[in-house]
C-alpha cells in the first residue's frame, strides 16, 4: 500500500512539475493566433479572450487544432514562406492538449498577458474611397452556403492604383470570404439586381469578371478573409482600378442559424502608379476552361494538369487556387531552368470555404524558361460530402456552382516592366490554347509520388523507394520485379518505364494504377527532377519533384507509414509488441531515403556480402529521444540499393512499450510516429 501511495505521489509530483497553465502557456498562443477572429462582432461564434472563454471551449479547442481545422490555413508548410501564416506548431498543439488533459488550470492570472485589442474602425486609417452596398442582402438562417456577387459603382473617373481594400461586413457572423474585381465593361453592373435581390448569384463571378479582358490579365483586386489584418501591398506594387469601373465583390456566406442582412462597406486605399504592373498567370489557363474538365460520376481522383512556361523573368507576389465543390487537392510547382523544382502552393485538402490569396513573404524571382505546372484533383464520388449531386453525376467545366473549374493562380510582376507586353501576349496565347487530351497516355500528378516507407508525398532522394500512383501507368495485371543476370532489378517491366531526368528507374512492381520505383542515383546533385512514365500507349507529361540529398523514412510493419516499425530483433525475429526487444540489445531498422552512398549507388543493384555501400552522410539514431549507439548503417545484404539497414543498440534506460525511434541522415530526420517494441 505504501509503495502504491509513494508511486502515486511521485506521479502527481512529476505531473505538477510540468503543469501547463492558461496564464503562462495557453493565453499567448490563443491571443496571437485565434483572437483576431474569436472576438465579439467577428465571424467566429465564440470569443477566446479570457480564461473563462478558453475553459468553456477547452476540449473543442484541443480537438480542432489537433485536426488542423483551426486556425484555418490550408497551404502545406515548409515550401515557399508566406506572409502572416496562421498556423500552430506541433509543439503548440501538444501543449494545448496537455493543458486540457491536466484539467485546464488557470495558473497565476497576474502573469497572463493582456488580451489583444483591435481597432474598431478602419484598420489602415481613413480610406481614400469608401463604398457601400446600396441595399442589404438577406441571408437565410439555414441551408447551403451562398455565393453572391455585388457590383458597386465607384465614381472614379481616372485610373487608380489600389494598395489595399478593407471590407467591413455588417453581418460578420456569416461572411466567410470575399473576392474583389473591377468591372470595367459594366457586365456585372447590368446583372446586379436582376433576380429581385441585390447582386447576382453564382460562383461564376470570376467568369463574368474575367471575360472582361482587363481582369483576365491583371487578376483583379485581391480578396478578404476574416481574421486577417488588411495590409498594404509591398511598396511599389498596386492593383489597377481603371477609370469608370464598378467594384465587383464576390461574397461567400455561411448561414449560422440566424437570419442576417449584409450591407457591406468597403474602404479602398490608393497609391501612386506603380513602376510595374501586376499580371495574373493561371495554370491551367482561365480556370481550366480548356483543360478537359469532364469528371465522370464516381471518380474520386480525377486529375487535371496544365503547364505554362514563363517567357520572361518575373517576380511572383501572391498565389491562390480556385475550384468548386469537388476540388480535392491543388498544387502549383515551378521547374526552373536550373532543374530546381519549387512548390509554390500545395493544398492537400482543398476547401472552398477557405479561399485565400497567399502573399509570399518576399517577392519570389522566377527566371524566364521556368515551367509552371498547375495540378488539381477532384472527388466526384458519393464519399465527397460536398458533392452537389447525390447520386453523383458527370460534371463538366462551367460557371455554375454545380459545374467545375480549377486553376492555380500566380500574381506576378514582370521583372523588367519593359517585358510586360511579352508576358501578357504569352498569357493570352496560353489562354487560347487547349490542354492536349491525355487519351490513353499515362497520367499522374506530383502528389501521387509518395515515399514508399512513410506514404507521404514530398521530396525524393537518390535511391529512395517510392510508390507512383496514377492512371494507365502499367499493365492491367500486377507484375513483380525482375532481376537481370547482372544482379540488378530491371527498369523496364511489363512494358513500363519510369524516367527521372531521362534515367530509367528500377521497378519493384507495376500495375495500371500503381508502380513501385527506386529513384535513380543519377538525380544526385540535381535540384529537382522531371519524372515521366512511358508505356506502349505513350509518355506522360513530365512532372516536377523537388530533390533532397537526404530524406530518410522508416518502413512500418503494416505499410501505413507509422506505428510499429519494420524492425528485427537481435535474434532475427520480427519486433512487435508480442515479441519486443530487450533493453541493451541491438535491433535492425529498415529504412529508405538515405541518399547517395559510398561507393556510389548503382541503380537496382542487389548488394552482396562484402560489397555493402554505406550512406555518404552521417547516420544517427534516437530511441525515446535518447541517442542510441549505431553499430552499422548501410546496405542490407541481398537487398536492392535504396534499402537502408541501421543496427542500433536500445539504451539501457529505455522504458518498456512502443518507443519512438528516429533515424537521422545528414540533417534530415525520419517521419514521426514510428515505434519499436521494447520489453
Amino acid at each position: 500500500m505504501r509503495a502504491i501511495l509513494t508511486f502515486l505521489a511521485a506521479l502527481v509530483a512529476s505531473a505538477q512539475a510540468q503543469t501547463v497553465t492558461y496564464s503562462q502557456d495557453i493565453a499567448p498562443i490563443l491571443y496571437a493566433n485565434c483572437s483576431a477572429c474569436h472576438r465579439p462582432g467577428q465571424v467566429a461564434p465564440f470569443s477566446l479572450l479570457s480564461y473563462n472563454d478558453a475553459l468553456t471551449h477547452g476540449k473543442t479547442i484541443a480537438a480542432t487544432v489537433q485536426s488542423r481545422y483551426m486556425p484555418p490555413w490550408k497551404p502545406e508548410p515548409g515550401w515557399v514562406p508566406f506572409r502572416d501564416e496562421r498556423r500552430l506548431t506541433d509543439a503548440q498543439i501538444a501543449l494545448i492538449q496537455k493543458w486540457v488533459d491536466q484539467g485546464m488550470p488557470q495558473g497565476d492570472p497576474s502573469t497572463a498577458p493582456a488580451p489583444p485589442s483591435f481597432a474598431d474602425d478602419w484598420q489602415l486609417g481613413t480610406p481614400d474611397l469608401i463604398l457601400e452596398m446600396p441595399e442589404g442582402f438577406n441571408i437565410p438562417p439555414d441551408g447551403p452556403d451562398i455565393y453572391r456577387n455585388f457590383a458597386i459603382p465607384t465614381g472614379v473617373t481616372d485610373d487608380k492604383w489600389v494598395r489595399a481594400i478593407e471590407l467591413r461586413p455588417s453581418a460578420r457572423p456569416v461572411v466567410h470570404h470575399a473576392l474583389f474585381y473591377s468591372d470595367t465593361g459594366g457586365a456585372a453592373l447590368a446583372l446586379d439586381g436582376q433576380d429581385g435581390q441585390p447582386g447576382f448569384p453564382g460562383l461564376g463571378t470570376v467568369f463574368t469578371a474575367q471575360t472582361d479582358p482587363f481582369n483576365a490579365l491583371t487578376g483583379g483586386l485581391g480578396g478578404w478573409v476574416p481574421g486577417t489584418t488588411p495590409e498594404f501591398l509591398p511598396p511599389g506594387i498596386a492593383m489597377a482600378l481603371p477609370a469608370n469601373s464598378a467594384l465587383l465583390i464576390q461574397m461567400h456566406f455561411h448561414p449560422n442559424g440566424m437570419p442576417q442582412t449584409e450591407k457591406s462597406r468597403i474602404g479602398i486605399y490608393f497609391g501612386p502608379k506603380p513602376d510595374r504592373d501586376l499580371t495574373q498567370l493561371q495554370a491551367p489557363a482561365f480556370f481550366g476552361i480548356r483543360a478537359n474538365i469532364d469528371i465522370p460520376a464516381g471518380d474520386a481522383d480525377y486529375k487535371v494538369r496544365g503547364s505554362f512556361t514563363l517567357p520572361v523573368d518575373v517576380d511572383a507576389v501572391s498565389v491562390g487556387a480556385h475550384a468548386h465543390y469537388l476540388g480535392k487537392s491543388a498544387k502549383l510547382t515551378a521547374t526552373l531552368p536550373t532543374g530546381e523544382v519549387k512548390i509554390l502552393l500545395w493544398i492537400k485538402q482543398w476547401d472552398f470555404s477557405w479561399q485565400d490569396q497567399y502573399i509570399f513573404k518576399d517577392l519570389l524571382f522566377l527566371p524566364k524558361g521556368t515551367r509552371l505546372d498547375g495540378e488539381y484533383t477532384y472527388d466526384n464520388s458519393a464519399g465527397n460530402l460536398r458533392n452537389p449531386f447525390y447520386p453523383p453525376k458527370e460534371v463538366k467545366w462551367g460557371e455554375n456552382s454545380t459545374d467545375e473549374m480549377g486553376s492555380l493562380i500566380l500574381n506576378v510582376l514582370a521583372h523588367q516592366q519593359s517585358d510586360l507586353g511579352a508576358l501578357r501576349v504569352a498569357t493570352v496565347a496560353y489562354l487560347l490554347s487547349s490542354v492536349p487530351q491525355v487519351g490513353n497516355k499515362p497520367l499522374f500528378v506530383s502528389s501521387g509520388v509518395v515515399d514508399g516507407a512513410s506514404t507521404q508525398p514530398g521530396t525524393v532522394t537518390p535511391g529512395k523507394i517510392v510508390v507512383l500512383y496514377g492512371e494507365r501507368v502499367g499493365p492491367a495485371n500486377l507484375t513483380s520485379a525482375q532481376v537481370g543476370s547482372d544482379g540488378r532489378v530491371a527498369s523496364n517491366l511489363g512494358g513500363t518505364q519510369v524516367l527521372f531526368d531521362g534515367n530509367p528507374a528500377p521497378l519493384l512492381y507495376t500495375s495500371s494504377g500503381q508502380i513501385g520505383v527506386i529513384v535513380p542515383y543519377e538525380v544526385d546533385g540535381h535540384l529537382g527532377t522531371q519524372v515521366q512514365v512511358k508505356t506502349a500507349s505513350g509518355a506522360s507529361d513530365p512532372v516536377g519533384l523537388p530533390v533532397a540529398q537526404n530524406a530518410p523514412s522508416i518502413f512500418s510493419a503494416d505499410y501505413s507509414g507509422s506505428g510499429q516499425g519494420a524492425v528485427l530483433n537481435q535474434d532475427g525475429t520480427i519486433n512487435s509488441f508480442k515479441n519486443p526487444a530487450a533493453k541493451g540489445s541491438v535491433v535492425s531498422i529498415f529504412a529508405t531515403g538515405e541518399g547517395q552512398t559510398l561507393p556510389g549507388g548503382i541503380d537496382g543493384k542487389l548488394s552482396t556480402a562484402g560489397n555493402l555501400p554505406i550512406p555518404a552522410a552521417p547516420v544517427s539514431v534516437t530511441i525515446n529521444g535518447e541517442k542510441a549507439d549505431v553499430l552499422y548503417a548501410g546496405a542490407s545484404a541481398g537487398q536492392v540499393a535504396g534499402v537502408l539497414q541501421v543496427n542500433a543498440r536500445i539504451p539501457a534506460d529505455t522504458p518498456f512499450g512502443d518507443i519512438p525511434v528516429v533515424v537521422q541522415v545528414g540533417g534530415a530526420q525520419s517521419q514521426p510516429g514510428i515505434t519499436v517494441a521494447v520489453q
Binding site: P141, N256, N387
Partner: protein, 193 residues
C-alpha cells in the same frame, strides 16, 4: 475517498442506460420541470445545446421541427449547458435562432448532462416512460466533423429512434456519435471563479 469513488461509479453506471424520471429542475421561467419524465406521452426528449456553438445553432430550427412534429407523442426540453447564460439571454437565443417555445433549462451544474451522459452540443437523449435511455447521440448525419457537413442529411437517427420508441419497438441504433462542441465538465468550470 473510497466512498466517493464508489458513488461516482454507481452514478456513471446509472447514467449510461437509465435515468431517474423524477429528476426535477427549474426552467428559465422558474417553473419546475421533470425533463426525463414523459408525463403521459410515449417519450421524453432532452436536447443538450448552447448559444455559441455553430453546429448547435445550425440545428435550432431542425430541433424545433422535430419537437413540433412529435408534439403529440413526445415531450421536448431544451437543456442549455452553459452556467453563464441568463434566462433573458436564453429567451433571446431561442427567438433569434428559431428554437421554438419549448421549456428551456439552464443546466449550470450539468445535472441532466451527467445523468444522460451527454458530451457535446448538440446532442439529444430520448427517454422511455420507464426511464430507460432509449437513444443518445446525434440528431442526424448532416455533420461528419467540424467544417464537414453534407448538403442534406441522409440518416435521421433521432427521428428513427423516436418512431421506434413510440411504436414500442427496440431502437435499431440506440447510441450514435454526436458531432459538435465538447461540453466542459462542471467541476472544471469552477476554476478561476
Amino acid at each position: 475517498m473510497k466512498i466517493l469513488i464508489g458513488l461516482v461509479l454507481v452514478t456513471s453506471v446509472w447514467g449510461q442506460d437509465r435515468v431517474s424520471t423524477s429528476v426535477a429542475v427549474k426552467d428559465i421561467h422558474g417553473v419546475v420541470e421533470k425533463p426525463f419524465d414523459a408525463s403521459g406521452k410515449k417519450a421524453a426528449m432532452v436536447f443538450f445545446i448552447t448559444d455559441d456553438c455553430p453546429i448547435s445553432n445550425r440545428y435550432a430550427r431542425e430541433i424545433h421541427k422535430i419537437c413540433d412534429a412529435y408534439a403529440g407523442s413526445a415531450k421536448c426540453t431544451l437543456d442549455y449547458i452553459d452556467a453563464d447564460l441568463t434566462p433573458a439571454k436564453v429567451e433571446k437565443h431561442m427567438l433569434d435562432y428559431g428554437h421554438g417555445n419549448y421549456p428551456a433549462v439552464i443546466d449550470g451544474k450539468q445535472v441532466l448532462v451527467k445523468a444522460a451522459g451527454a458530451t457535446v452540443t448538440p446532442e439529444v437523449a430520448v427517454i422511455a416512460p420507464d426511464g430507460s435511455l432509449a437513444y443518445r447521440g446525434r440528431i442526424d448525419n448532416m455533420w461528419a466533423s467540424w467544417g464537414q457537413s453534407r448538403r442534406e442529411a441522409t440518416e435521421f437517427d433521432l427521428r428513427n429512434a423516436l418512431d421506434a420508441v413510440i411504436a414500442g419497438k427496440p431502437v435499431a441504433l440506440p447510441r450514435t456519435k454526436a458531432v459538435g462542441c465538447y461540453i466542459t465538465p462542471a467541476e472544471l468550470l469552477g476554476q478561476g471563479k
